[in-house]
């Protein structure tokens, strides 16, 4: 797994206001045949981004030059469905560093945190407001400060504190990875195996 650092991010946003966007939409299964982690960004949201004949779909937000940035502002229940980490790799590879929603699917959330893509949960109301603002003004900027755990809409000063597991926060701030941590515990794991208690 990659070691990625995250501290402060200031960026415009790309809005995707649909609910229940599943990982099959993020990266369709037919693009999962690669054996490395790179290059999935080309097929991010493939079937929305391109027409049946392979041309760019001008109606889709990633093809709209008005919108850009490193923050994907999604709808409720983002990342449901398949556990494919390729979905996170695709979003990251495309250039996003944070995804904002009012609700994430569990496995997606874990996968995102394991790859330095910061999932930020904000309220339904704020999400709706943010979508409205971005639609009106695509230059709307947000600031994410991981150390302070704040998410701020710069033009209005709307700011909230977001939740993140303290262990994961530390990993992201320092660019540490779970495997190093687990490897450092090997003797403890072996001792657990030797003294494993039966389920009672």
């Amino acid at each position: 797994m990659p070691k990625v650092k995250f501290d402060i991010l200031e960026s415009t946003c790309v809005p995707l206001p649909f609910e229940n966007v599943d990982t099959d939409q993020i990266i369709p299964a037919r693009f999962l045949s690669a054996t490395s982690r790179q290059g999935f960004g080309d097929n991010l949201f493939r079937d929305w981004r391109y027409t049946k004949t392979g041309e760019k779909n001008g109606d889709f937000v990633l093809n709209n030059p008005a919108f850009g940035g490193k923050v994907l502002v999604a709808g409720k229940n983002f990342g449901s469905g398949s556990s494919r980490e390729h979905a996170v790799w695709a979003i990251f590879d495309y250039g996003f560093r944070a995804v904002v929603s009012s609700f994430f699917a569990d496995i997606f959330m874990n996968n995102a945190l394991n790859n330095g893509l910061l999932p930020i949960v904000i309220s339904d109301d704020l999400l709706k407001k943010l979508h409205g603002m971005i639609q009106k003004n695509p230059d709307t900027k947000v600031k994410i400060d991981l150390e302070k755990q704040t998410f701020t809409i710069l033009s209005t000063g709307d700011s909230i504190r977001f939740d993140i597991n303290p262990y994961k926060k530390e990993c992201l701030l320092k660019g540490l990875d779970d495997i190093d941590f687990l490897l450092s515990m090997k003797s403890q794991i072996t001792s657990f195996e030797n003294h494993k208690i039966l389920v009672k």
Binding site: D24, I179, M185, Q188, I189
Partner: protein, 474 residues
């Protein structure tokens, strides 16, 4: 002592260490891998120059991208072939047991795990596949993980995992004839939505669950993820133990009797507290079908598509977008709607019981001319059993071709794709846009509903085929 749920008991006994303000270090008893979500994890081991910590605890199969025809020939799709070759190489290099293509024990990972005796009560089980929840039917904590976590398990036999909340779903009452466990789980999802159990691990309980076979229980646990749950489990009982007793062998278990005695203790305490407790009546469930593009968009087969989404929001862009994709309108009835494809198979409904159920309706009938059917056994063992029971012959007589095992059209990574705009009644687990191929329109249903549709060529209530004499019951 504080009373505990079954989930707590298994989880707590597998925690190597709790990190303060952080996730638990959870020990994994059984790790299943397949060709699609493992190569990057093995790459990670290579980059670090470390071995697989406990190769004996990982079991591998090739299932996701493989063809379901001519499996004895080289895989034509080069990328798919490369993934399968990499799995073969990695298993050989690291000493992992592999049931690869053409192995008589090959099949979909969640079908072969239980049938080969690798899934046992009280275990923690993970796999880089969200339908790992299937194994919960045996009283295990089983859940899907990402590839970084696959790497963690390969490297240390542990993962870091926050403990989910606990939900109990109790189902009482008698199921009607023609209603299957697939309908039960689709009904629950339609009631609580595709994200209704996100953040929770579900325990299914109640008399209607207790009466189900292991195959039927697996179908319910399998689709736990479709309600957003981390996983779903059921306390093991005599039906579980009987399933295990009938297996030809159980790796690592010498004295099954004493193991069963231990497993009998795997129950939630009577006064255990759940974070959420839901109750449903099995007696009101009808055969179900989905009309939209997530598994929460389901209804009784004789119902009409709702006029608004679950929140009563008529103009919801997601709701309209979904119905547009399906070519449906709010308020529409689906009974009688022509369809093009039928798919029976997958880790949800690819077990022998499912093919028997399908056979009960198609026996002595012919498939409709407008239907293309994909009949895909969940494993080589299922395929062999179908042959032994005369089901393959019976299917042939009805005009169906039986393919070789694999995930097939459930996720359409191989060539088994439903074409653009075509309707498929599918016994799989996801009706997402493009799931069964770009532009494909999926209607999730039970094997009985799929059989009825295959015969009539239209969306049909399977109860039309069910008489008292032909008491289809699974």
């Amino acid at each position: 002592m504080k009373s505990k749920t079954l989930f707590d008991k298994i989880w707590d006994s597998h925690v190597v260490r709790s990190i303060e303000d952080g996730p638990d270090v959870l020990y994994i008893d059984r790790h299943y891998i397949h060709e699609v979500t493992s190569p990057q994890a093995f790459n990670g081991l290579k980059e670090r120059g470390i071995p697989v910590f406990r190769p004996g605890k990982t079991i591998a199969t090739a299932d996701h991208n493989i063809p379901t025809k001519d499996q004895h020939l080289a895989i034509r799709d080069l990328q798919s072939r490369n993934q399968v070759d990499r799995l073969n190489e990695n298993c050989k290099k690291y000493g992992i047991e592999l049931f690869g293509l053409n192995d008589p024990k090959n099949g979909i990972v969640h079908v072969i795990g239980p049938e080969l005796g690798y899934t046992l009560p009280g275990m923690t089980i993970v796999c880089g596949d969200s339908h790992t929840s299937t194994h919960g039917a045996f009283g295990t904590i089983a859940f899907g993980i990402g590839t970084s976590e696959v790497e963690m398990v390969l490297a240390t036999q542990c993962i870091l995992q926050p403990k989910p909340k606990k939900m109990r779903i109790t189902l009482e009452g008698e199921l009607h004839n023609g209603v299957t466990s697939k309908d039960i789980v689709m009904y629950i999802i339609s009631q609580i939505s595709a994200s209704g159990a996100t953040g929770y691990f579900v325990e299914y309980a109640g008399s209607a669950i207790k009466r189900l076979s292991m195959e039927s229980r697996m179908t319910i646990c399998n689709m736990s993820i479709e309600m957003g749950a981390r996983g779903g489990l059921m306390a093991p009982d005599e039906i579980t133990f009987e399933y295990l007793r009938k297996l030809p062998s159980i790796p690592g278990i010498e004295d099954l009797k004493s193991s069963v005695n231990e497993w009998k203790k795997l129950q939630s305490d009577t006064d255990a507290v759940f974070d959420m407790d839901l109750k449903f009546n099995a007696g009101i469930i009808k055969p179900m079908i989905t009309y939209g593009t997530n598994p929460g968009m389901g209804m009784a087969i004789d119902d009409s598509i709702p006029l608004s989404d679950m929140n009563g929001n008529k103009a919801s862009s997601s709701f309209i977008k979904s119905l547009d994709y399906m070519g449906f309108k709010p308020g529409m009835k689906l009974l009688g709607h022509p369809i093009d494809y039928v798919f029976i198979g997958s880790c949800t409904n690819g077990r022998i019981e499912d093919f028997r159920a399908f056979a009960q309706i198609i026996k002595g009938r012919r498939k409709a001319d407008n239907i293309t059917a994909l009949i895909v056994p969940g494993s080589k063992k299922v395929e062999a059993q179908m042959l032994a029971e005369g089901l393959i012959e019976l299917y042939k007589e009805a005009g169906f071709e039986v393919r070789q095992p694999g995930c097939s059209s459930c996720l359409a990574m191989n060539e088994d794709k439903i074409p653009q705009g075509k309707y498929a009644v599918s016994t799989s687990n996801r009706n997402f846009e493009g799931r069964q191929g770009p532009g494909a329109r999926t209607l999730l249903a039970s094997p009985l509903t799929a059989a009825a549709a295959a015969i009539t060529g239209r969306i049909t209530d399977p109860r039309e085929f069910i008489t008292e004499e032909l008491k289809v019951k699974i």
